[in-house]
């Protein structure tokens, strides 16, 4: 004996949740001002990435009588080795960094989540094959590989860079998503949904993905920050082709030819891109914190 009213009740709740999603987003954002700050930061960076280069003349003006000028009203972060405004460099350089990060994150999440879901959902042979492949990917050390690859290849565009970083980086996401899928499966989730005659697409898109969204969001965070980290790092090490307005190149020149770590003259030149990285990371962190609450049913009270 069992009552027939149960499934209907659950489906109803889910519908309500979806309807309230955007309202929920707004509420979650509003609850903590820091989250709003995060969203604003990201918006500013997005604006910089899209319109930043249009704000300044190309090429950027130089003032060769003011090399490594200290911060002033005209140059809030001083000037670089040839007298170009550092702030302008950071702003115009954001496009490269952000484009790479976005491409990387997209590839990481799509490929990683896809493979992870598929492996965890299908199990059996597919799972074994895909996970061996993932393990192998995780086994090959990323940064050393990038170092070697950067001598073999020349990453001439941000998209190319993001593509390589993304294709190198999806392993962790795949693993995490797979284990989440397996654990949901263990809770009888999938079998129950199947038993109710729901389609695979429905199960994956409506039942599994929402549950894993925080996980995937967190991994997207790691992917974005990882992409920023990797590309700026490679430029910092100087193994990637020179880009005039690039955060990593700025770090490299500040440290290795400006002496930013020895004296203060080039310090603003070092700090400006560092601050940009920190701020971008902070923005992402705050927004993901909000996303976590929006997607995580445990944190959501409704």
């Amino acid at each position: 004996m069992s009552a027939t009213i149960v499934p209907e009740a659950e489906a109803g709740a889910a519908a309500v949740v979806r309807r309230n999603f955007w309202r929920g987003v707004w509420r979650v954002m509003r609850r903590k001002p820091s989250r709003m700050a995060g969203a604003v930061i990201l918006a500013v960076f997005a604006f910089m990435g899209i319109f930043g280069p249009m704000l300044y003349p190309d090429p950027l003006p130089r003032d060769t009588s003011a090399l490594y000028a200290p911060p002033s009203l005209r140059h809030p972060f001083g000037t670089d080795f040839e007298g170009t405004d550092v702030l302008a460099l950071v702003v115009t350089g954001s496009r490269y960094v952000l484009l790479t990060a976005v491409v990387t994150a997209a590839i990481t999440v799509v490929v990683g989540a896809g493979i992870g879901l598929f492996a965890g959902f299908r199990r059996g042979r597919w799972d074994t094959v895909l996970m061996r492949f993932t393990d192998m990917k995780l086994t090959i050390p990323g940064l050393p590989l990038l170092l070697v690859l950067s001598t073999v290849w020349k990453f001439t565009s941000a998209v190319e860079m993001g593509l390589v970083l993304g294709l190198l980086g999806w392993g962790g996401v795949a693993r995490a998503v797979r284990s989440q899928t397996l654990s949901l499966r263990e809770r009888g989730f999938i079998e129950a949904a199947r038993g109710l005659g729901l389609s695979t697409t429905h199960i994956v898109c409506r039942e599994l993905l929402p549950g894993m969204a925080p996980y995937i969001a967190m991994n997207a965070l790691i992917a974005v920050t990882g992409a920023v980290y990797a590309q700026v790092g490679l430029f910092f090490l100087g193994v990637l082709p020179f880009e005039a307005n690039n955060w990593g190149v700025m770090l490299n020149l500040a440290v290795f030819s400006g002496g930013a770590l020895t004296t203060t003259a080039a310090l603003p030149y070092l700090l400006a891109p560092l601050l940009a990285i920190l701020l971008l990371t902070l923005g992402i962190v705050l927004v993901v914190d909000a996303m976590d609450e929006i997607f995580n049913p445990r944190l959501r009270e409704e």
Partner: protein, 343 residues
């Protein structure tokens, strides 16, 4: 180890539990009065979201945040008002005085520890001096429930089947000699045979140990099988209660009728079972005023919109419905609109 004194009685008065939501505090249980007479099995039946599990948790003053008990009292013999309890006193009451068989008993055990160790943890938590004796009791209880007690105590959760886990859950609720036992959905997610076994065990243990038992379920059949008394919940209110037989034989509240009508019977046309139209209210959807059931009620009247339905007590039975009148005996006011005639 036979209990010396008599089983405790429980008197719930005006219990209101609210959940804090962005839309303000919303009641999940509002103004519930319910008695659990000593030595009886009481069944609470309701759909998801009816507040029945919240009610059960209130017996332990264990409503999880963001919920809280806003008003009312839960008077338990030998403990007093648990709503007023807190800290260590409350913790000691849990398990010791009130045994709780968890809703998802399937996952109510620490997966990394064998059952026996968890029994010991329980004993240590409650200052049991004779831990060896406690283990023996646990084994005895498990044996009593038809398991190989010694083996089960050595097992991890994942090594036990659903029914076994459920029985372990019951064992953990009883092993400290609690006399008041709350079973939250004891038979959800087990197969029919196991369900029958579990219910038999609940009945037998209840009788043997002289307990006061509360069974929370969405399944009227379960209640019919074990409960002496029955309370039907809807939208956070008890809409009808009374001796099980009487209520089932002559439901007075339209909701009770609808529930009964929705049960497919082993004998007869499956088409006779009628699902209840509409949905149970969500927390935010519970009407603040008037009858909570009116949206789905076939007997809806104007008065249902505004006035809270009076609780009509007749003997040991009561119902909260404008359509049920004191003088109306067992029959509802409007016979024309019974479940059978619904389309």
């Amino acid at each position: 180890m036979a209990p010396e004194h008599s089983p405790p009685g429980v008197r719930i008065r005006g219990l209101t539990v609210v959940y804090r939501t962005p839309a303000g505090e919303l009641p999940a249980v509002s103004g519930v009065d319910l008695d659990l007479p000593p030595g009886t099995i009481t069944g609470v039946v309701g759909e998801s979201g009816s507040g029945k599990s919240t009610l059960a948790l209130s017996l332990l003053n264990a409503v999880q945040p963001p919920g809280r008990i806003a008003a009312g009292s839960v008077e338990i013999d030998g403990l007093g008002d648990v709503v007023a309890l807190g800290g260590e006193a409350l913790r000691r009451a849990r398990g010791r005085h009130v045994g709780y068989v968890f809703q998802a008993a399937q996952n109510s055990l620490n997966p990394l520890k064998p059952v026996g160790k968890q029994v010991l943890d329980l004993g240590r938590s409650h200052g049991v001096a004779d831990l060896r004796g406690l283990l023996a009791d646990a084994r005895g209880l498990l044996d009593r429930m038809g398991l190989d007690g010694a083996r089960v105590l050595d097992s991890f959760q994942h090594e036990l089947s659903g029914g076994m886990r459920q029985r372990v859950g019951i064992m953990l609720a009883l092993v400290l000699n609690a006399r008041l036992v709350v079973l939250d959905e004891p038979t959800t997610a087990v197969d029919m045979i196991t369900q029958a076994t579990i219910l038999r065990i609940v009945r037998e243990v209840h009788a043997e140990r002289g307990l006061t038992t509360l069974v929370i379920t969405h399944d009227l059949g379960v209640v019919a099988e074990v409960a002496d008394r029955l309370a039907i919940m809807y939208g956070g209110r008890v809409v009808e209660q009374g001796p099980t037989r009487e209520v089932l034989a002559g439901p007075r509240h339209p909701y009770t009728r609808a529930l009964l009508g929705a049960i497919p019977r082993l004998v007869g046309d499956i088409g006779e079972a009628r699902a209840l139209p509409g949905r149970p209210p969500t927390l935010a959807g519970i009407p603040a005023d008037g009858c909570v059931f009116r949206e789905r009620c076939p007997l809806r009247m104007d008065v249902c919109e505004t006035g809270r339905p009076p609780v009509v007590v007749r003997g040991s039975r009561s119902a909260a419905c404008h359509a049920v009148r004191d003088d109306d005996g067992d029959r509802p006011a409007v016979t024309a609109a019974t479940g059978e005639d619904q389309s």
